[in-house]
């Protein structure tokens, strides 16, 4: 039977239920473990083959030798160009790259979107923003 207002029952019930809105940014919504967010680079595993550079669709990652050190490489990732496709993670033969679940990457200045990993000579893989 056709009647108007078929949704009345549901609608009135929703009046007393908790709203489905999540109060972001006061309540964070964690992403699952394998979410493809910001990349992380392990300097000790990189061999400088540049396969990640060859396979990147947008040219977001650049591998450069660390000046003054032997067989050490640093990675410069442009977060604005990165597609977060994680093809570089798959292409790397030594598993030196990893995708974290960090997705809150907004910045107010364009320069802050270039992330450099491990440019200190002989240091650990601390990122410099």
């Amino acid at each position: 039977m056709f009647r108007p207002g078929k949704m009345t029952a549901q609608v009135l019930r929703s009046l007393f239920k908790k709203p489905a809105t999540s109060m972001y940014p006061f309540v964070k919504h964690p992403m699952p473990k394998d979410f493809r967010g910001k990349l992380r680079f392990y300097q000790e595993k990189c061999i400088g083959c540049k396969m990640c550079m060859r396979d990147c669709p947008s040219g977001a990652i650049t591998i450069k030798p660390v000046p003054g050190a032997q067989k050490k490489f640093m990675a410069e990732i442009d977060l604005a160009k990165c597609l977060y496709c994680a093809q570089c993670v798959d292409s790397c033969p030594r598993k030196a790259l990893e995708a974290t679940a960090d997705y809150e990457l907004a910045q107010l200045e364009h320069g802050k979107l270039k992330v450099v990993y491990g440019d200190q000579t002989g240091g650990d893989t601390k990122e410099k923003t």
Binding site: G5, K6, V11, L12, K17
Partner: protein, 311 residues
């Protein structure tokens, strides 16, 4: 002196403006909660008004500048004037006189005409279509609205709103005879206020904003205020005609009851906004003339018969 207080503060400009903004907040909050989401905070309508009032006004080049600018002002003025004749508590409105029902109904038609004129003289394609639809819709809902309001008036044997309140405070059980009329009046009020399912003149996905497309800045703020005030006044009119009980408890209790009645009607309007889709203009006219107008006429005839029996 007292007249100035009445016109500008209570129950005039200030009271209706504040009540209108509060009613808009309640309407939007109920709408949102029924859709399972959090609505706007309490100060949203005030913030909207202030933001719009502080923006630049752009009058289109081909538009008739005088008419374009006068229409919002005329809309607000006529609505506030109508409110002076509607009784809130007690049996006497502020400036009641014999025949003020007709004056109120006439004054409440003026805002629709201002939407039409404002849209038509904007000379933009979308505004002209919205304005034409506004008038077309007027022909559909006015008759049922008038007839359903005239039915209790005829039962009370008076043309004055205060007279209606007096009659029903003497015969409280006669209110129940007007329940079908109440339902019809609510549906017709949806048409007057241009809310879903009858928000055809302002269909956002079809004609951008209808008659209000070219309005911006202070003029748009005044138009939106006019729409909010129309909501409150329309609900007050219906409360005065169809729910005239508890009027003799004195000013404070009466005022509280009045606010509750208006909120109840606003709640019904929000509910019907949520559960149906928008109709097309030809479907709307067909529905109004084939379904609502006959029921309004039947209500009128029923009241005629009851009056004959009661005498």
């Amino acid at each position: 002196m007292e007249a100035l207080f009445n016109i500008f503060v209570f129950p005039g400009l200030l009271f209706v403006a504040v009540f209108g903004l509060a009613a808009e907040y309640i309407d939007r909050k109920l709408y949102a909660l029924m859709q399972n989401r959090i609505g706007p905070p309490w100060f949203q309508p005030v913030a909207d008004f202030i933001k719009l009032a502080s923006k630049q006004e752009l009058v289109p080049e081909h538009a008739d500048s005088f008419v374009f600018k006068m229409m919002p002002v005329i809309a607000i003025t006529s609505i506030i004037t109508a409110f002076l004749y509607i009784p809130m508590w007690g049996s006497n409105a502020l400036f009641a006189f014999k025949g003020d029902l007709v004056v109120v109904l006439y004054l409440l038609t003026v805002p629709t005409l201002t939407y039409f004129l404002g849209g038509w003289y904007s000379r933009s394609v979308y505004s002209m279509i919205g304005a034409a639809r506004s008038l077309t819709q007027l022909f559909a809902y006015e008759i049922p609205l008038f007839i359903s309001i005239l039915a209790p008036a005829m039962l009370a044997d008076t043309w004055s709103l205060s007279g209606i309140s007096e009659y029903f405070s003497v015969h409280p059980w006669h209110i129940l005879f007007n329940i079908p009329g109440f339902v019809i009046a609510i549906i017709a009020l949806l048409g007057k206020l241009e809310k879903v399912p009858f928000d055809i003149p302002e269909a956002e996905t079809e004609i951008v904003a209808g008659a209000f497309t070219e309005y911006s800045g202070r003029l748009l703020a005044l138009f939106r205020m006019a729409i909010d005030m129309e909501l409150v006044i329309g609900a007050s009119l219906l409360a005065a005609v169809f729910l005239p009980f508890g009027l003799h408890y004195g000013p404070w209790v009466g005022f509280g009851l009045y606010i509750l009645k208006v909120l109840f009607i606003i709640g019904l309007i929000s509910l019907s906004r949520t559960i149906v889709a928008r109709l097309r203009i030809d479907q709307m006219i067909g529905f109004c003339w084939k379904v609502i107008a006959p029921v309004a006429f039947l209500q009128f005839i029923a009241d005629l018969i009851i009056k004959g029996i009661a005498k």
